[in-house]
């Protein structure tokens, strides 16, 4: 395709490429696998222009421009990589490395937690230059069981604040102070538990440094086996959020939302994100139980259990009438199972007393 046949093209590193109206230079470069680095970018969020790593050279512009906030216009000539751009990127990354306690965090911290350390290695930026004060202040006093607030590793990209506002609509966290004193805060600097945080964990999963960490997954940090990811669907409600189940050996150690999950696009709720301990819990039911003649629960086969339940239901109907029964379908069941449940209650039991736990 040439600029003659389609005016909506730019020249990207010497190659003429087409773009959609409203597309940014960063999006175009990504589509063409230019591997332009960034630390403040999350494609679900409004471009922010903070980290300045995604700078590109635009012909005619005095200075490099941030490609994430620059919309493509026909005829632009863009260079994504040259010695000057890479020098600036390396200096910025050396600055970033200098403000943190350490840069290597466990991959169990969160989905994006390796972004910074990967870039530091790619640009050979662990030089120790620009040594000086560290910028973040961790909150070990926040004793919530889910989200580690290890701000000693924070680089003030504000992805957490933005995902909380733009994706979750929670506005639980914000930016306090300014400049090098900037901190991520809740209202009045309190604990997450006392804020409007719902512990959905999206801030954890978008954090590029592990400054926000998944406390539950990190329990398995010292387990020697490698982390395996298995794509699945969240077992809770019927929305069908795609998740990656993290396991080490035969143990589930954590859950991460699938960024490409069609129903959730990286979002989860507190249950889907953090409530997986039932999997290996010693109290977990593995067979049906029925009560024996002494009223004690004993393991049983499914046939025994279903017979017992059917007998109980029939006895109630015979003794108190069909409207003595009321059924609640689980919110974890998909639509099809919910449909079967109401069919069973209406046609089988003969009552209209059927509801769903999301409402009941």
């Amino acid at each position: 395709m040439t600029s003659d046949s389609n005016p909506r093209t730019i020249v990207l590193d010497g190659e003429t490429v087409a773009f959609e109206r409203g597309e940014t230079l960063f999006e175009i470069a990504q589509r063409h696998r230019r591997d332009v680095p960034s630390l403040c970018y999350d494609d679900r969020l409004d471009p922010f222009g903070g980290c300045r790593l995604c700078i590109v050279q635009l012909e005619g512009a005095r200075k490099p421009v941030a490609s994430c906030t620059t919309k493509a216009e026909p005829g632009m000539r863009v260079t994504t990589h040259n010695a000057t751009l890479d020098m600036h990127r390396r200096v910025i990354l050396e600055m970033v490395a200098s403000e943190n306690r350490d840069v290597d965090v466990d991959e169990l911290s969160g989905y994006a937690s390796q972004e910074m350390s990967t870039l530091l290695d790619r640009y050979d930026a662990r030089s120790g230059r620009f040594d000086g004060a560290h910028s973040g202040t961790s909150r070990p006093d926040d004793g919530n069981p889910f989200i580690l607030r290890d701000y000693d590793n924070c680089i003030s990209c504000y992805r957490c604040v933005r995902v909380c506002a733009e994706q979750e609509g929670d506005y639980a966290i914000s930016v306090m102070n300014r400049g090098f004193d900037t901190q991520i805060t809740t209202e009045f600097g309190g604990f997450l538990e006392d804020s409007s945080c719902t512990f959905c964990g999206q801030c954890v999963q978008t954090c590029p440094t592990g400054a926000l960490g998944d406390i539950k997954a990190l329990r398995a940090k010292d387990v020697p086996e490698p982390v395996e990811k298995t794509r699945s669907v969240c077992p809770y409600c019927g929305v069908g959020c795609a998740v990656d189940i993290l396991s080490k050996g035969d143990k589930v150690v954590g859950i991460q939302p699938a960024m490409d999950g069609p129903a959730n696009e990286g979002a989860l709720c507190v249950k889907g994100q953090f409530a997986f301990d039932f999997v290996h819990h010693p109290d977990r039911l593995k067979t049906p139980f029925v009560r024996n003649d002494h009223g004690q629960l004993v393991p049983a086969s499914w046939d025994e259990a279903l017979d017992k339940a059917a007998a109980g239901l029939l006895e109630a109907v015979n003794e108190h009438g069909r409207h003595s029964l009321y059924a609640v379908a689980s919110g974890r069941a998909p639509n099809e199972a919910g449909y079967l449940m109401q069919k069973f209650v209406r046609a089988g039991l003969g009552t209209s007393y059927i509801d769903n736990c999301s409402r009941a």
Binding site: G49, C51, K63, H88, I92, S135, A165, V175, G179, F188
Partner: protein, 555 residues
């Protein structure tokens, strides 16, 4: 009985840009911003409480401690520091430092509640009005200062006696907006806040932009250290600024204009309020401005202490009650400004120049400059100079003429070692480069810029590394925290200019500082981070020996 939260919030809901005025009323009522008051504001104005809390902490002067509003704040800007600000700070009970508060011609200002006191030569604190500009040398024609020394100039009748509001009347009666813009275009007037964008072109862009509703904003957030010209203009000639704003409304088609005033000028706020009320009750401003059947409303809004709010897109976010980070550009304010409306953001001096230009014509204004340069520029001159103050110079005047002839030269027995340009943002000029003329092309050729026109003078007794350290500390303190190169870079440069920071060898020190300078200049998101490294760059250029001994001493 002081007003209740509910009463104040109900009032705020009827006003445009309500957050800052509401916070100021609560701050003054309670002496600080309590958690309870902020929770009421969040609920009343429907702002998430975490956002509101974060935004309040952004501003220097909003106190979250009981009694904070009344506690003394001492200016520790570059010039006040030379005059003993730190000793004054230590001697005042409960005092905290504040960045340059725009009174460098009469140091040292101390803010207490809503009053500015001056400690002259470290003596007792007294309230004094803003100094008038020193008289211009014989034969020099002025534009914005021409009438500023007239008696009663700050009153409506005094302003009218000097031809005030005639330009507005003419514009409303016999000029089309297009011909008004043409006059401004032809005068060659450019933005006097520092960016130097042609004013007529800006107005035309706003007028032509899509959208019925347009907005005018007067940027009076004069936060640049060493700049105090807008304060003099507003304090002694407030109606000239209002008339300029009204003309901007006529030209662009705006009905609402905001004057965003920096926090540190409480007396100016009072004077402007009086002037706006006078102009409204005389029918000059209001729903039927000057009988034109056009509405022109001017709203006064007070900042809360943040240098970055002088950057126009931060200012707009601040007006809208948002976190005052600069916005990404494009789109520019001329198409997407206040609440998304096409907005003309103009500096105080720019707007005050408009009425005399309309009265006297574009040619008259152009001819005020020397050679090819059109018009005048007010220079705020301070530091080690015999007669500090605001001087309105013809553009193109040699710097040495201003320093030595107009302002009396250095203190006796001393020589000038260096001056700053654009307040602090242009870095230093020294040695042969002091041989410049006061206009952008001449100063830009030396790697600096004239900007808002603040010039601080440092004589041969001063340690320029220490001056540079103070300057960089200011930028680090005022960096908003949005972009990485500025947030981290200003901090790292400050550390390297202070005692005991950075590499021990000169080679490594220079290697780091040069890299920081270059990357900050090229990749920072706004003017703050792009300008801050001019300090270190010019320090290295003019004072390499001073830098070498600094590194040898501290490394």
């Amino acid at each position: 009985m002081p007003p209740t939260n509910d009463e104040l919030i109900a009032r705020a809901r009827t006003e445009p840009a309500p957050l800052l005025p509401l916070l100021h009323r609560l701050h003054e009522r309670d002496g600080y911003l309590s958690e309870e008051a902020l929770r009421a504001v969040a609920k009343g104005l429907r702002i998430p409480i975490a956002d509101l809390f974060g935004t309040v902490t952004f501003y220097h002067h909003f106190s979250r401690q009981e009694g904070g509003h009344a506690a003394p704040r001492v200016c520790t800007g570059p010039v006040c520091s030379l005059h003993g600000a730190h000793a004054l700070l230590e001697g005042l009970d409960g005092a905290t430092p504040m960045p340059c508060s725009g009174r460098c011609d009469e140091p040292i200002p101390v803010l207490r509640g809503n009053k500015t006191f001056v400690s002259v030569d470290g003596g007792a604190l007294e309230q004094r009005s803003t100094p008038l500009p020193p008289p211009a040398p014989d034969g020099v024609a002025e534009c914005v200062f021409k009438h500023i020394r007239d008696p009663d100039r700050k009153t409506l009748s005094g302003y009218r006696a000097g031809g005030g509001y005639q330009a507005l009347a003419r514009a409303l009666e016999s000029l089309t907006p297009e011909s008004l813009i043409e006059i401004v275009d032809e005068s060659g007037l450019t933005g006097r806040g520092g960016a130097g964008f042609p004013t007529g072109r800006k107005w035309r862009a706003v007028r032509d932009a899509d959208g019925e509703r347009k907005t005018v904003v007067c940027n009076a957030d004069e936060g640049e250290p060493g700049c105090f010209k807008d304060r003099a203009l507003m304090d002694h000639d407030p109606h000239a600024v209002l008339e300029g704003m009204a003309l901007a409304c006529v030209a662009t088609g705006a009905e609402h204009a905001f004057l965003y005033l920096r926090y540190e000028y409480p007396e100016t706020e009072h004077l402007l309020k009086t002037a706006i009320a006078e102009a409204e009750s005389a029918g000059i401003l209001g729903a039927d401005a000057s009988g034109s059947r056009k509405a022109i409303h001017i709203h006064l809004r007070r900042g809360a202490g943040a240098y970055i709010c002088g950057e126009e897109t931060s200012l707009l976010n601040s007006l809208e009650g948002k976190h005052p980070f600069p916005r990404d550009r494009p789109p520019y304010p001329v198409t997407h400004g206040y609440e998304g409306t096409p907005t003309a953001v103009n500096n105080v001096e720019t707007l005050a120049s408009i009425p005399p230009i309309v009265r006297n014509g574009a040619d008259w204004y152009r001819a005020l400059g020397l050679g090819e340069h059109a018009g005048t520029k007010v220079i705020s001159l301070s530091g080690d100079i015999a007669r500090p103050g605001n001087y309105e110079v013809p553009l193109g005047l040699p710097l040495s003429t201003l320093l030595n002839e107009w302002a009396g030269g250095p203190r006796s027995g001393r020589s000038i070692q260096a001056v700053t340009m654009a307040g602090l943002s242009g870095g230093f000029l020294a040695d042969d480069d002091l041989d410049v003329t006061l206009d952008e092309p001449s100063i830009r050729a030396k790697g600096s810029f004239l900007g808002a026109g603040g010039i601080m003078v440092f004589d041969d007794t001063r340690d320029m590394v220490e001056v540079a350290h103070m300057a960089m500390e200011f930028f680090a303190e005022e960096s908003c925290g949005k972009c990485f190169p500025c947030r981290i870079g200003t901090q790292r440069l400050t550390e390297r200019l202070s005692t005991g920071g950075g590499p021990a060898t000169l080679e490594a020190w220079l290697d780091e500082v040069n890299d920081l300078n270059r990357t900050m200049k090229e990749t920072s998101a706004c003017g703050l981070g792009q300008a801050a490294p001019l300090i270190t760059e010019s320090l290295l250029r003019y004072f390499p020996d001073g830098v070498a001994s600094h590194v040898a001493r501290t490394g």
